[in-house]
Symmetry: C2
Subunit: 195 residues, 2 copies
Amino acid sequence: MSNLTSTSDDILRCARSLIIEGGYNGFSYADISKVVGIRKASIHHHFPSKVDLVRTLVVRYREDAETAIAELGRAYPQPADQLRAYTGYWAGCIADATRTFCVCALLATELPVLPSEVVAEVRAYFRMFSDWLTSLMEQGADEGTLTLAGTARSEAEGFIATVHGAMLSARAYGDPSVFTVVTQPLIERLVARRQ
Amino acid sequence: MSNLTSTSDDILRCARSLIIEGGYNGFSYADISKVVGIRKASIHHHFPSKVDLVRTLVVRYREDAETAIAELGRAYPQPADQLRAYTGYWAGCIADATRTFCVCALLATELPVLPSEVVAEVRAYFRMFSDWLTSLMEQGADEGTLTLAGTARSEAEGFIATVHGAMLSARAYGDPSVFTVVTQPLIERLVARRQ
DNA sequence: ATTAATCTACCTTCTAGTAGGATGACTGTC
DNA sequence: GACAGTCATCCTACTAGAAGGTAGATTAAT
């Protein structure tokens, strides 16, 4: 019953981890075929074209992120704790090598050569993510639990950039600890009371 | 005379801009062939394999960066001014669309699927870059012109991550100004005197 | 006369994608 | 309960074009 759709889920999961490793042009239907144990043509039955596959993958990725963000808000009332939980989640994923990069951050680097349908979804993810962080920054500033150096939006953009850059550096050095070295001071600085 | 080697330079220049757009798997010899106005086979004469081409490209990229860094040190005695000149250079490149991403930052995202020869050179670039920034941070701290929150190395890693992340965000939003929005506070924070 | 640079022509492998058939589960109908 | 029809899933077999790369001839510079 519920595992009727499990094949297309398997395909999406596999494609996601392949994209995380090498981006849109770094994997093929043949690669998925080998991992999932299904023929190439069967993948085309579930996702007629590669664009379809990656587009749905990114859409779902964003939906999952939205759900996770909503849960984060319920679990942690304080913005600082939500930021800590977010970077902590990624620190764990990078350390145990389950998910060493954000799918949308990786696709964003290839944006100029990506099909327009995928570009639109990646951009939608960044907008959503930026809006969430901006509102978190605003909330923290209003409550007096976060100290912003600039506008809520610019602090949010700085946060996004630093987190994605930290993933990049961790990958470049082949050292997961770099992610924490970079992201921990980022939150401490926001939490620090202005002297 | 000097333009005897200009074809291989043209190939390297072209490959560089193609990599900046879409990474290692985002371009082919046929793409270069069209732009440079030379046949595929002629490219193979200059660079027997794609790995040769990209490896030499990255080696030269690092050498050019080392030269530029040395010049920066001569032009600006103050570490803060060197950091400003560095981010200012990139802000200009991104704004006029000449070079919208660091070649090594882009290749680093694809590291797991890159040929090992290229991986080695990309890593060498990151080490060189990190060493330079660390010594800059140390110098600034010694002179009292920079205020470090952590170690010189961790500040350097934070700087690298944020700059690369700022390139990523500028590309994701399709808005060059995001780069400056993110990198300007980064330097202001280091320059600010501790209260 | 030699050598570097370029060409045409080709090869092999991979790429995304298609055509059409086999299987099997779920329907409604008698 | 048997029967036919429908539909989803997966298969084999195939295509056209792009990929990286090679062989060997031609051209041009020294």
